[in-house]
């Protein structure tokens, strides 16, 4: 018999992860789903946010201020990466963002004076706002959900505004959008900056939840998982990204429970690999069988 009440800390942990991945998924959706820019370096913005927040907080800056700095710095990184890549066609834009992501990872590993390199930074304090420390996981969950909700509301208003309509127009037919007199590059850059900024916020949350960061958290695999959230939930659907985040976090858990309660050793020792293999398989199947995703816009998209 499974002790459900005893499993509350475990569910709490999953819920916090869902909240963080929801922010990452929605922010990537703005860039990839709404604007049509395949971004394979989203984990780098997440990492920039995490490192910025941690370094500032450890230097004595209040967490909330550090979080704002995380968003700003990650957003600037988005602009920095977006600007030279704007003229690249779809798949080359993707490869350029992948390359930038790897460069950022290289810097995180090698700039040891600041980042401590592969050793990572331990002992990160929990967030503190005006004297209140989000020490318990229940309090932290409330914080994550509040920020995820704010992200959702902001991005929903943004994507439903005329600004959002232009983004979708760019995705569907860039030349037509240009012909209508829209400064396409300005819109794309704004989407990159805002999307990257929210990923930075997710980083500032994640680091202070795990309380330890190192460069292995912010790698290409993570960018692919964020892409899976967007693709599975549906390109151009924020609600889809919420569903996608729930699915991403919960999907491998039954396998973990089976592994923990049985004698299947390969499932125990190789859970990390099984998990990634399942994700890869789902990504493959969704793209081939369900290109619109679960809640995507079902219009005549190629």
């Amino acid at each position: 018999m499974i002790d459900l009440l005893g499993m509350w800390p475990y569910f709490l942990h999953l819920l916090i992860y869902i909240g963080i991945y929801a922010i990452l998924g929605m922010s990537l959706n703005l860039i990839t789903g709404y604007t049509g820019l395949l971004n394979l370096g989203h984990a780098a913005f997440w990492g920039i946010g995490a490192y910025t927040s941690v370094l500032l907080v450890l230097a004595g800056i209040p967490w909330l201020l550090a979080l704002v700095a995380s968003a700003v710095l990650a957003g600037l990184a988005g602009l920095l990466i977006g600007f030279p890549s704007l003229n690249l066609r779809g798949d080359y834009f993707a490869v350029a963002t992948l390359g930038f992501g790897e460069i950022i990872r290289s810097i995180l590993i090698n700039w040891s004076e600041v980042t401590r390199g592969p050793l990572g930074i331990p002992g990160i304090p929990r967030p503190e706002v005006m004297g209140f420390v989000f020490e318990s996981n229940e309090a932290f969950l409330a914080l994550v959900l509040a920020l995820a909700f704010l992200t959702y509301v902001f991005l929903r208003r943004l994507t439903r505004s005329s600004f959002g309509r232009v983004l979708r127009a760019i995705r569907e037919d860039e030349i037509a959008a240009q012909a209508l007199g829209k400064d396409v590059n300005k819109y794309k850059l704004t989407a990159m900056g805002i999307g990257a900024g929210f990923a930075g916020i997710a980083g500032g949350l994640f680091a202070h939840y795990i309380t330890f960061i190192d460069p292995t958290s912010f790698v290409l695999n993570e960018s692919v998982l964020m892409l899976l959230i967007v693709v599975l939930g549906g390109m151009g659907s924020l609600e889809g990204s919420l569903v996608g985040a729930v699915a991403l976090v919960l999907l491998p858990e039954p396998l973990r429970l089976i592994g923990a309660n049985s004698d299947i050793t390969w499932l125990k020792t190789g859970f990390a690999q099984v998990r990634m293999a399942v994700y890869a398989l789902v990504l493959l199947l969704v793209i081939i069988r369900l290109p619109q995703g679960l809640l995507g816009e079902g219009r005549n998209r190629k």
Partner: protein
């Protein structure tokens, strides 16, 4: 500083040539498939990794001789390449090209983790015997294994070049890359051409994987960096051009091995990405590309 640099330059050039030969082999697969289907088969790095594991299985588990292990790797990976196309890319021929790029990434991830599950994450090797004595070659030290690597890479590239230039199937590949519709009109079976190209590119990647394993340990993630660097090589040489892929591979190998003399060694992998982004921005045609610029830029 410079006198020291020139003292080690022959060694840096030699190291660059060895790495470059391996990148070139993988880059050929990227560039040939891009030439025909205009999409990036991101999985070539992982195919090289599977090649190394196939050779490992044959040599260490089944006690086959090295040459049989190499042939097994080529056979397994050629079939794997065709199978991947059938499962992951063929259903998307008419879809947005970004879709195939995403399935290619999914295939990479799947292969990496399946191999890790089956063989374990720990590093393995099928090298044996004592550490080889290097020979002095114009001031650079080179081991017999490294001679084998360079010779094999050049022989395979020459063979491929001959195949594409002279054989009937090679001509069909070139015709399809030029204009698939027109090639169909004159009776060329484009799906057969695509299968052949996947088999060839994957075979070369498998060879690259085995060559890497002759010098280094093998592990499930060993294909990621060579894969991305080989893609960079294809872009640098001019994507779509086979000679370009060979040239680009050599250049990436040389630039990263010479560049690392000036930088902290941890930045070795980042050099290729900087080159990649530089070329995408300023010279998207690559060095020998030419007609494919409109594909890279809008």
């Amino acid at each position: 500083m410079w006198s020291e640099f020139f003292a080690v330059l022959p060694q840096l050039l030699m190291n660059g040539l060895i790495a470059g030969g391996i990148y070139s082999l993988i880059a050929i697969g990227y560039t040939m498939i891009y030439g025909i289907l205009r999409f990036i088969n991101f999985a070539y790095g992982e195919i090289a990794m599977v090649g190394a594991y196939a050779a490992y299985t044959a040599i260490v588990w089944l006690h086959w001789p090295l040459w049989a292990g190499v042939l097994a790797a080529l056979a397994v990976c050629s079939l794997l390449g065709v199978a991947i196309d059938f499962v992951a890319y063929k259903p998307l021929r008419k879809a947005n090209r970004l879709s195939s790029l995403i399935t290619a990434i999914a295939v990479s991830l799947l292969l990496q983790n399946l191999v890790a599950l089956f063989y374990g994450n720990e590093i393995k090797t099928f090298r044996e015997g004592p550490v080889e004595q290097g020979m002095n070659f114009f001031g650079a030290f080179i081991t017999p294994t490294q001679v084998t690597i360079i010779a094999t890479a050049f022989l395979l590239m020459a063979g491929l070049y001959w195949f594409v230039a002279k054989t009937k199937l090679g001509k069909a590949i070139r015709a399809t890359a030029d204009d698939m519709e027109l090639a169909k009109v004159v009776g060329i079976d484009s799906e057969k051409v695509i299968r052949t190209t996947f088999a060839l590119g994957s075979g070369l990647a498998a060879a690259a994987g085995v060559l890497i394993a002759l010098e280094q340990n093998i592990e499930p993630t060993m294909g990621v960096m060579p894969g991305i660097k080989a893609f960079t090589a294809a872009v640098v040489g001019g994507i779509g051009s086979i000679q370009g892929a060979m040239l680009g591979g050599m250049l990436i190998g040389l630039v990263e091995n010479i560049g690392i003399w000036f930088l902290p060694s941890g930045y070795k992998d980042a050099i290729a990405f900087v080159v990649l982004i530089f070329f995408l921005m300023f010279k998207p045609k690559g060095l020998l590309g030419g007609k494919l610029e409109e594909d890279v830029r809008k």
